[in-house]
Symmetry: C2
């Protein structure tokens, strides 16, 4: 299957079809394309063009396209749709997607839309889901699921499932509950296909079932599902009453978003932006970290001014040429150390005592520092740098590397212990503080050795 | 459900049980724990302890634990198992996991293990899967799937599926093929539950089916599955003959690994390492980038030496205090720009012409540069820096920021166009080259303005 590729030519064709109200051609396309592809097209159209195209789609496809388009675009489109039109789309969506859509509306419009939903149960389900925190299991789950009572026979179960299945887009697991809706276990499709028709569900279901509490945090759910290879997980309340289920496709999006966020934090980008966002949004995401860098840089200006007299020394002035090198080493080592720790924390693989971690990081940075210091002395020899100065720079660099590694390792650990996202420390934060520490240490150690 | 937490106390208990050959207690634990949790325990034991524990498990659990433990540990454990023992484990695994396990063995042992597999079809399937590239669709797929012939009735279909389902751990989709095994479409569980028993599959199946070619690259498969929310995708050859299927759980692991890899590259870590790896492995992953940074730093030493006489100027020597700041800005801006582009390339959202991209990046960096330059002049005033020097530094910094943003944007695009992983450019590569460019530009522009 060749994946859909949106190119300029296709886009121009669609734009011209919209301009000329060529509805036949547009409807034909809309039928052929997957909703994710249509969403990609709508993202590239103007809002008015997008609304025109969306109104041509049948209701089910419209709602799917709406859930897939960029958030900004969706917001603008929703503003142009009536409460009734939005309610019609919401009607088509599974409760989890419906809630995602509705929660983007202003609060007064939310109530209006819910009031317009014809299917009362659907409206109630959405109402309930809106009460949960967006990033909790409750905020991620859908109410649609297939559940059977332990006292049913296989025949009755199949009959009931036929009814339930018409409501549920994809059947993952079949959950078994008692008369009070308390989750007891699950029934695999395999069990259902191979069991005797007259057998009671009680006698064929699997008692072992993974589940999550409705208040569990989203990233914990993601970890659990990834670790235990779950494709769907039931969500229960404190009494183990079955409330909904979370499917892996929602978690895949969650994992991707989390990974993207960490990556952006590491690169010094504050909020979730994309290459195609507006210059204003991109500036908002980038400028704060750059200002932090600027302030940090002024800190190093201040430190260097303090060693101004070294500039007048015929040999020692060389130290000044090495400041960018030292700052870069401090930054690089710090980022490396923190990235490894941040990933370790995210995957729960940072074990053992803090002392062991400390010893390991010191050992590691000593090895790196000695190797790099040695190289520096060799290069220094060929560059004609005074031997004493060369050795001094190498030794100071070694100390800077060790300290930078320790800062890079322990800042994320300390942040994590205080429930702050440690990923924040991998980026400009560590680079900037290590620049300052590094330059200060470098000159201070050199001062002690060379005695200026 | 409280997720399993491995703590020191539990680990000590297990170690002591192993030492005292307390098999009853160990077996009880092994029955209770999920295989992913057992794998976590084995990761923390010595190899001998791990092998002891693994040999107590029933065969199915052993194989699952083996696929979950750390690669290094698995290798060591496999060395201590006989060919016959490994073959028994492989027998229990789905073909995709079996291949992952076997491919880690030395080639001569691979053949010996396959020869010992009793189920001939399983052995053949594994043999076939071993021929595909590890990161291709063929390398990710499993042979286990449920497929039905278009000419069967619903009743026959259910009967046949009962047989097939005993071989398949999880039924995702039911694939419909013709007499030559050519993929025609799929049958949803919903269709099956609601169709008339005497209906032919031909009349009820869904013709639209997503599929991937066996030679498709893994990351393309991951993109496709994430975009279209697929939980399983059939794999076909060039003639559309159904060969196997890829399930979302394998892709979740793939997505996580890819994200981790990009993140590590951005942080300047060369190969896939974890916080708990050995110092040697960590050094191998980190030292090369640090050496790159050292060489780059020496480049800036060389450039700064060229401007040595500026040091003797009573006012202009201030420029030297600003080199770490300029280098940091060049690095930060470059990393930001490249991170956004790398993510955009990964998610296929970098559209529009190169000229538009260029104009946008110039606009963006001009805004950032003017804002930061303004701040610098203000700070400079309070720090008592000569006004002309202050303005010169601000203007040079503006130029450095624009150039760094362009380098950060276009290096990944150029790498991507030449089929090199653009993520490689976000890390120390961009930082180091931007340090050198930045410092050179800074002094060169200052030289033109101030005329030294």
């Amino acid at each position: 299957m060749t994946p859909f590729q949106l190119n300029d030519q296709l886009l121009a064709q669609i734009k011209s079809d919209i301009e000329q109200h060529n509805t036949a051609a547009l409807k034909k396309r809309a039928n052929e394309y997957h909703y994710a592809d249509l969403a990609e097209i709508v993202d590239e159209l103007s809002i008015d063009e997008g609304v025109y195209l969306i109104k041509l789609l049948d209701s089910e496809k419209t709602s799917d396209v709406l859930t897939e388009v960029d958030e900004d675009i969706r917001e603008s489109i929703l503003e142009l749709l009536s409460v009734k039109e939005i309610a019609e789309e919401v009607e088509e969506l599974d409760t989890d997607d419906a809630v995602d859509l509705i929660s983007e509306l202003p609060e007064d419009r939310q109530a209006e839309v819910i009031a317009q939903i014809e299917d009362e149960e659907h409206a109630q389900d959405i109402q309930e889901l809106l009460t949960y925190d967006e990033d909790s299991a409750g905020g991620l789950m859908a109410k649609e699921l297939v559940k059977v009572n332990e006292n049913w026979t296989v025949t009755k179960c199949v009959r009931e499932m036929r009814v339930q299945a018409t409501e549920v887009k994809r059947v993952h697991s079949i959950y078994v509950v008692d008369d009070d809706d308390i989750l007891l276990g699950r029934l695999s499709l395999k069990d259902l296909l191979t069991a005797n028709n007259r057998a009671k569900i009680k006698s064929v279901y699997i008692q072992k079932v993974d589940f999550v509490n409705v208040n569990e945090e989203g990233d914990e759910v993601a970890k659990l599902m990834a670790k235990y290879d779950l494709e769907a997980v039931p969500v229960v309340d404190d009494k183990k009453k079955l409330l909904g289920r979370i499917t892996i496709d929602d978690i895949v999006d969650f994992i991707k978003e989390e990974a993207d966020k960490d990556y952006q934090l590491a690169a010094g980008i504050a909020s979730d932006v994309e290459a195609d966002d507006s210059i204003v949004d991109l500036t908002k995401a980038r400028l704060p970290w750059l200002i932090l860098g600027l302030i940090g840089g002024l800190g190093s200006v201040y430190i260097l001014e303090g060693f101004e007299e070294v500039m007048r020394h015929p040999t020692y002035k060389t130290l000044f040429f090495f400041t960018p090198l030292i700052a870069a080493m401090a930054g690089n080592v710090g980022v490396q150390s923190s990235a490894i720790i941040v990933q370790g924390l995210a995957n729960d693989i940072v074990k053992g005592s803090l002392l062991n971690r400390l010893l390991k990081e010191v050992g590691l940075s000593l090895i790196n520092g000695v190797a790099l210091g040695g190289l520096l002395v060799v290069f220094g020899y060929f560059l004609g740098i005074d031997t004493l100065v060369s050795f001094t720079i190498a030794l100071s660099m070694l100390c800077v590397i060790v300290v930078s590694a320790l800062v890079g390792t322990f800042v994320p650990i300390i942040l994590d212990k205080n429930n702050i996202d440690p990923a924040i420390a991998t980026g400009p934060f560590i680079t900037t503080s290590n620049d300052i520490f590094g330059i200060f240490l470098f000159f201070y150690i050199a001062k002690i050795i060379l005695g200026f």
